[in-house]
Symmetry: C2
Subunit: 351 residues, 2 copies
């Protein structure tokens, strides 16, 4: 096996695909009762009793979804899993298995793939997931990661985006914009560092927003807590592309309008502080920043007391209304600002 | 909506992600009874009664798995689906749903994505599949396609790579090396064309090998035919990376050795003709060329008569043996050549 002398790293080509897959497979063990067959055949096999199967997939591209200048590979592995399972939690379902595909160019070594897998393994342990398959391919350009998640839920537990009713309360877990501010900080320090005006990037006092960007968590805790108090949302979506775009998705599919209230938007103190420092509006970050992986959901007005009394880490940020009334953000001085999605355009601008 | 004046094509950014997904979603309709929820939520939902769920995924990268100089986008869409479902057929299962992710840079337009989807739609119609989800992302470099396939099979019908026994017959559908020769022809004509020594590439007389490369089919017909005569292979794998590597996979997992006979390898006349013309050994193409999407499977000796009498388009190319005897190709003059995989290294060399 040929090792790169300077870095003591192993060439992927020298290891061979056979041995590579075997080596990576030893990093993961299947523990879920629903996994019938994991890595090592043409397809993975799963069996869910009395439940429906949910599948979602995401594509992560270097230079668009992540920048390896400041993203440790282990964190990247962890984060792609979190992003993938967040979609399954957003259906009020339980993720059980993942498939991970990685495309890597010659600048990466076996040890780099192992670092990604270490992050994947940590996420699997944290969330109770089996890695059951995937694909490993050479790339001519940057790194590409494809994550597919399989989950399960009984038929009557699944929550779609479409079930919201026009008097429902709009609820949100955690807080918004922190990951976006973490990204802005990393980008700033990258520019400063590239200009060599400092020897070390300065991150002190911003640990929270950095963690929100580099190692986010999915809201399994909220899904579990809602199940424990028998609260089933009428509609739900995960907030991965900014609140505005997710509110609009939910409104469109529930055929409703919405009012959200600016002073109700949960924004962390550190997010405000970073926003001040780099002169970006924190509310804009909350509305259009990505990577939050919080859950936006609706419940009937009648659930108000249960929600307030028995559910932690959830804010009521507004309510649905008739579709004819549109979707607006209401400011403290009672101005109504129409919600607009950014999505693809924003991604390209960021990239 | 901004149109590119010269080409009358639509910028993806100008359309916006909302409208893009809606426009692409109109190209596909879900028809499978097992599809509970298709495109348009955080995850797809499927329900299989009395069957297990199979999932496989592949990553296709521009410059490695396909070259857009000579691969029409519609064909590319069709081929990625075929490659994906081939893995499910190789488990003796039925593919039902697919999720398709595409990463595209600014050099692609909405119409280009529609061309890919037209190929995907054609494959879905041919094989009875629903497109139920995916992801669309901007790319900084080449095109990336991720295909995930969901399928079903009753517990006792699934065929793994590991079930082969040491006297089983090794069987192969169709023929080998044709797609690889089609690729060589396309590469040759690309080089000639780039050198401007001809105005048009010359493909006449090689339509079969070109189709095998550009628009392959998956062996649904064989899976159906085996079900009809109640023949269940003991082990099975699809031939996507060359016969040698697949025989070795099957041997390793079945803990067997193998003998395959050179004169039994099915190679089409056009494959031989192209091989002669460009002075490549046709048998090497059969052993190590990719993209065949044929099925390699094993049956007990006792199934010999059934196999010969009732199954078309299948050749017996050898047999399994004790693991201690290794895996060899036997030539007509009775020489034994050890089988070796190429895999990743070959891919990088091709690319």
């Amino acid at each position: 096996m040929h090792k790169n002398a300077a870095m003591q790293k192993t060439d992927i080509a020298s290891l061979g695909e056979f041995n590579l897959i075997e080596r990576l497979a030893t990093l993961v063990e299947c523990a879920q009762p629903s996994t019938v067959k994991g890595i090592g055949d043409d397809a993975a096999v799963v069996r869910y009793e009395q439940a429906e199967t949910l599948v979602s997939t995401e594509l992560w591209l270097e230079g668009v979804h992540f920048d390896l200048t400041y993203t440790p590979l282990k964190h990247l592995g962890y984060k792609t899993v979190v992003a993938g399972i967040s979609d399954i939690y957003a259906m009020n379902a339980t993720p059980r298995q993942i498939l991970l595909s990685i495309g890597v160019s010659k600048r990466f070594f076996v040890e780099d793939l192992e670092a990604i897998y270490a992050g994947v393994k940590a996420a699997c342990a944290r969330y109770g997931l089996d890695l059951v398959g995937g694909d490993t391919a050479p790339s001519m350009t940057g790194m590409t990661i494809g994550i597919t998640v399989i989950g399960e839920a009984p038929h009557d537990k699944i929550v779609y985006r479409s079930g919201g009713k026009k008097t429902d309360l709009l609820c949100l877990t955690g807080n918004l914009g922190a990951a976006y501010m973490g990204l802005q900080l990393l980008e700033r320090e990258k520019r400063v560092f590239e200009g060599h005006s400092r020897k070390q990037p300065q991150f002190q006092g911003f640990e929270y927003i950095l963690e929100r960007y580099l190692k986010p968590e999915a809201r399994k805790d909220i899904i579990d807590a809602m199940a424990a108090i028998n609260l089933r949302p009428t509609a739900m979506i995960d907030v991965s592309d900014g609140l505005a775009s997710e509110v609009l998705h939910l409104c469109r599919q529930s055929q409703c309008g919405a009012r959200i209230y600016l002073e109700r938007l949960p924004i962390a103190a550190e997010t405000f502080r970073m926003a001040d420092e780099i002169q970006i509006d924190a509310v804009t970050a909350a509305l259009h920043g990505g990577d939050d992986y919080e859950l936006l959901f609706t419940v009937p007005l009648s659930s108000y007391d249960t929600l307030r009394k028995d559910l932690q880490n959830v804010d009521i940020i507004g309510h649905l209304c008739d579709a004819s009334e549109g979707a607006f953000l209401i400011t403290p001085d009672n101005q109504a600002v129409e919600l607009r999605a950014q999505g693809w355009k924003k991604d390209e601008a960021d990239a």
